[in-house]
């Protein structure tokens, strides 16, 4: 399972970084979202991977770590809000500059 989770995180982060480096705001937003997912899964796995265990001490012999779940919850909420904000900002940018290029205009237009 460790290998599977590690692969998932790797793929998510790699696609996220690739998309972040694109020149269109939409791909950048998607990239940051995927990067956020990768980071959240990573954060989650830092408490140790356990199957079928509750996060309550005493309820099971080997409980999972509840703290990472709390951390991930916070990170998800913040990441979600930021994505929403970024989408609005990207729309605004397109509205004001008539282009969805991250620099406001394409290379050819500028020169």
């Amino acid at each position: 399972m460790e290998l599977l989770v590690a692969l998932i995180i790797g793929v998510l982060v790699a696609t996220g970084v690739y998309l972040c480096l694109r020149a269109r705001t939409f791909s950048v937003v998607l990239g940051l979202t995927l990067l956020g997912y990768g980071v959240n899964v990573f954060l989650f796995s830092m408490g140790g991977l356990k199957i079928n265990q509750v996060a309550v001490v005493g309820a099971s012999a080997d409980p999972t770590d509840p703290l990472t779940q709390a951390l991930v919850l916070t990170a998800i909420v913040i990441g979600f809000a930021m994505t929403a904000f970024l989408v609005v900002l990207a729309l605004r940018s397109q509205g004001e500059q008539h282009s969805d290029h991250v620099d406001g205009q394409d290379g050819e237009q500028r020169s």
Partner: protein, 493 residues
């Protein structure tokens, strides 16, 4: 008395929430609410400073959860000093905003308060994940503030700023995950203790985590190669916002200083990444000097002066020498207040130049050229570090404390570059004029906050000796990390 510690977070939080409720048309009510909160922060910060100056470290356990398990707020002299600086900076910045800039967007006042809440929280918290949360609070507010007033340039700079900081937040979370995975704690004091005991692969993972933290704090502090967002974002922000942002880079510097003093001053991980920070800071200093020479607009020039102060400070602090921290803190106070004053002054000039804006080219003559010129001259002397104002005192103290040839050469050359840039800007703005006066109005409500910030420089100079001693005391307390750790963990270590 113990509950005072949380007041710098609660006051702006409550004010910000109230401001969200208040009716949009009643601008006066919103101004009064915002100003009341800012005024209240100053005595609170003073009380906290009084408390911290006695030498004890105040600890506030949220929800009364014991230290390594719950979140703590920690008040030592360094955090108290930064809180006081924030309060002193916020009031003139908001006063300037109340002169009319706050009308350009609906939620200026509440965002301003939330920004203050985030900054104060970042200075107070003793928990790494809580630091992340307060960073996010101040960033979310700053996104809104950076875009305040609209305009295509602002949106473009704002988009870069937001995307970069979101990527930075992702890195911060990875670093926190690694720290929790290896040490099993996120409490700063507990982390400092447990980091010393790690061995083998855990230690390598922790090294990665800490270097990632330096990247994140370097992004906030605007260190090379992560400073490119700053000139555009600061130069395009509305004046009171830019003035408040002068403290934002210092939040990053504070975080580096705090972590370094707490966990990496001795033990197996001592001086982790310090060499890297030293060289990157020197490169930042050099590039900021070039940027200041090449600036096309006064706002850009001032933004590069902010970057320059960051390079100066991080290079000095990366040495990890307690003797350097004192002068560095003095210079930090000076550069924050004076850069903020310059941003406000830049806006005043922009207003009296009409279409020429703050571009460094021949424009209409200024209606109150003598007064503005005198203020600009004083600010330039202060920020570059010429005698007799505070920049000179700060730089001399720093040079005395850092006996390193590259630092001396670069700091002096950067000062020279700043001087050349500012003289060019000043002579262009005030002397190369043509045509008629465009705007006669200056507005007392804008001039007074600017002068108040500028007045900080002579005050800092007159009180240089006691202030430097005070900063030295802060550095001494910071150097002895056992006081902090014992206060938080209650003698468990």
């Amino acid at each position: 008395m113990t509950h005072w510690i949380i007041a710098p977070i609660l006051i702006p939080a409550l004010a910000g929430l109230l401001l969200l409720l208040e009716v949009r048309e009643r601008q006066q009510l919103r101004r009064v609410t915002g100003l009341l909160s800012c005024v209240a922060l100053i005595p609170v910060a003073l009380v906290l400073w009084q408390q911290a100056a006695q030498g004890d470290v105040g600890v506030y356990q949220l929800g009364n959860w014991q230290a390594p398990f719950g979140i703590v707020l920690v008040l030592d002299q360094l955090s108290a000093m930064m809180l006081l600086l924030t309060a002193v900076l916020a009031l003139p910045a908001l006063l300037y905003g109340c002169a009319g800039d706050d009308r350009r967007g609906p939620n200026f006042h509440s965002l301003f308060q939330f920004q203050l809440m985030g900054i104060n929280g970042a200075f107070l918290t003793g928990d790494l994940f809580n630091l992340f949360v307060f960073f996010e609070v101040l960033l979310i507010a700053s996104y809104g503030l950076a875009l305040h007033g609209r305009g295509p340039e602002r949106v473009k700079a704002g988009l870069h700023y937001v995307v970069l900081n979101l990527a930075g937040s992702a890195l911060f979370l990875i670093a926190l995950g690694l720290i929790y995975g290896t040490t099993g704690t996120l409490n700063m004091a507990d982390f400092a203790v447990k980091a010393q005991a790690l061995e083998g692969s855990d230690q390598i993972l922790l090294t990665v985590a800490v270097l990632l933290l330096w990247v994140v704090f370097g992004l906030k502090a605007a260190l090379f190669p992560l400073y490119f967002w700053l000139p555009a974002a600061y130069a395009n922000a509305t004046a009171p916002v830019a003035a408040l942002f002068a403290i934002m880079t210092k939040v990053g510097i504070y975080a580096i200083l705090r972590m370094q003093a707490l966990a990496f001053s001795d033990g197996p991980l001592a001086g982790l990444g310090a060499d890297l920070l030293w060289w990157l800071a020197l490169v930042t200093l050099a590039l900021a000097a070039i940027g200041a020479l090449a600036a096309q607009r006064l706002g850009g020039l001032v933004a590069y002066l902010v970057v320059m102060s960051v390079g100066t400070l991080v290079a000095a602090l990366s040495l990890g020498d307690p003797k350097v921290v004192g002068p560095a803190l003095y210079y930090l106070i000076h550069s924050t207040l004076i850069c903020a004053a310059l941003f406000l002054l830049c806006d005043l000039l922009r207003r009296s130049r009409g279409d020429s804006d703050d571009r460094l080219e021949s424009g209409p003559p200024l209606a109150h050229g003598n007064w503005l010129g005198a203020a600009f001259f004083a600010a330039a002397v202060a920020v570059v570090g010429l005698p007799p104002l505070s920049g000179f005192v700060g730089k001399v103290a720093l040079l005395q404390a850092v006996p390193s040839a590259p630092y001396w050469v670069l700091l002096l050359l950067a000062g020279l570059a700043g001087l050349v840039g500012l003289s060019r800007a000043g002579s262009t703005l005030f002397w190369r004029v043509h045509g008629d006066v465009v705007s006669k109005k200056l507005g007392r409500r804008r001039v007074i906050p600017m002068l108040a910030l500028l007045l900080a420089s002579p005050l800092l100079t007159v009180a240089a000796e006691p202030l430097l001693q005070l900063c030295g005391g802060v550095a001494e307390q910071l150097a002895d990390q056992t006081i902090y750790i014992r206060a938080v963990l209650g003698g468990a270590s």
